[in-house]
Amino acid sequence: MTRRIGFLGLAVWILASIGALAQGAVVGLSLSTLNNPFFVALRDGALQAAQKAGIRLIVLDAQDRVDKQVADIEDLIQRRVRVLLVNPTDSAAVVPAIQRANRAGIPVITVDRAAAGGQIAFHIASDNVAGGRMAAEYICQQLLKGRGKVVELEGIPGTSAARDRGQGFNAYLKEKCPGITVVARQTANFDRAQGLSVMENILQAQREIDAVFAHNDEMALGALQAIKASGRKIPVVGFDATPDAVKAVQACEMAATVAQQPQEMGRIAVEKAVELIRGTKPPAKTQFIPVPLKLVTNSACKW
């Protein structure tokens, strides 16, 4: 029996040794999820910048679980990272963990989503409200010429990205585009499979749909599948400009996607962290560093 327990110890040892190779990191990055190309791009941008600056980066993935993120951040604090980069799963839930980092004297930089409290040196993000407005403006002015019926696929309820994009989108329609009505507004949780099934249901219920706005590209691509299968042709506007979505826009399958630049976000976050490590004092109040958005369209397509 002792030998068998020895086996278990050995196995654990080997697993742990894989990680030991990566020791010596100084900056921690706690991401909400890596099960989404957007955050993978963010991580890649951060890793490249870290390599260039000659620092080590520990990347932890909260798998979209608020409680895991709190634990991840606590672990990074125990690991004594010099700067903490956080991409919150939820603005409010992350606050106690950030306060713990503050107490440990570790400067905190938030990326993409903001935190609702704690001391944050920099907040690096694109303006999601502006992005939502951008999508609404495109649908209203370019696609539908001010009149039509629109479906909105919402992100995970309660996330600030879903709130802000929806807010910008609907505010624009209300203020500038009274001829457009949102005939269906459903959540598909930022998920492609759910985007597919939710859109299938909406297609059953709505005979007339002139355009779809999805809070992210994963849902947009899912919706696109549903629309293709139904044999209808409806322009879809997504958000994030993931590689798949950009390809779909180039192929005239999707009308547009609002491009955030996650790789830039990761890069800027690490560069700010490096500044802090090299002795720059963190600003007294959180400094917002906007990462520009742009609309990706294809003028060769006819909608």
């Binding site: 029996m1 278990l8 196995a11 020791q23 679980r65 991840d72 606590e74």
Partner: protein, 313 residues
Amino acid sequence: MLWARFGPSLLSRYGLLWALGFLILALSLLSPYFLSTANLLNVLRQVSINAILALGMTVVILKGGIDLSVGSLLALAGALAAGFALSGFPPPLAMGLGVGIAVALGTLQGLLVAYAGLPPFIVTLAGLTAFRGLTLVYTDGRPITGLPDPFLFLGNGTLLGIPVPVMVMLSFLLLTHFLLQNTALGRYLYAIGGNEEAARLSGVPVARIKVFAYAYSGLAAGLAALVLTGRLNSAQPTAGTGFELDAIAAAVVGGTSLAGGRGTAWGTFLGALIIGVLNNGMNLLNVSSFYQLIAKGAVIVLALLVDRLVRRR
């Protein structure tokens, strides 16, 4: 005296203690950050929610059932407690109401299993879906924030240098241990899990004990909800997603048999600790998060294999 009470069950779980020991030894050697009081308290605090849920789950599994609803029930109880507190109830009453409703909904599921004869898997699967829906309706999909201090204290405070969530977890562990080992109720649970028909024939009030098991799991979900709400300084509509599987994993790694009739509170606690220590260690060592999932799966299977081999002797 403590040893007389807890020693034997600890010894019977020595396979797990060895596994945990090796894990701690390996991590201490590999990471200079692992073996510090601050980090060990950190691990205990992180483990507390899963351990509480897993203890409730153990009671249900012991009698041959399963409770898939705990994650959603946790979200609902947390949201209700937070909502009550914000609408003017004194915080302790709001917390009590949240936990009370979790116990009531657990009882309801128990009634459906015990008296309507529905399969536990289906009843609690329905609970998992319905309670999540209720939570989203109640919160309108938004987190509830701005909670009064007692919530924060439950999640992030310390008492005599020990984090409050750890205190809650240890109290619940002792309660569950006492219940299982020192009361007739506990023995009945084992009896039902071992052979329900035999238990019935020997006069065990099977239906009532079953209802109790689900109510107890509801209590665990309620307590865990208070800790999590405090830890997150907010009640999250999506809180607790997937927690039921973590709780089942902790119970099973801890030697609880999914067939019922076998398992202890201490074993489950050790199971939760092994999973928690592993998560913490891999984070400290910067193991890629994708490999972390594989390692977690491997450890669950390894722990089961070791357990099986130890028992075969």
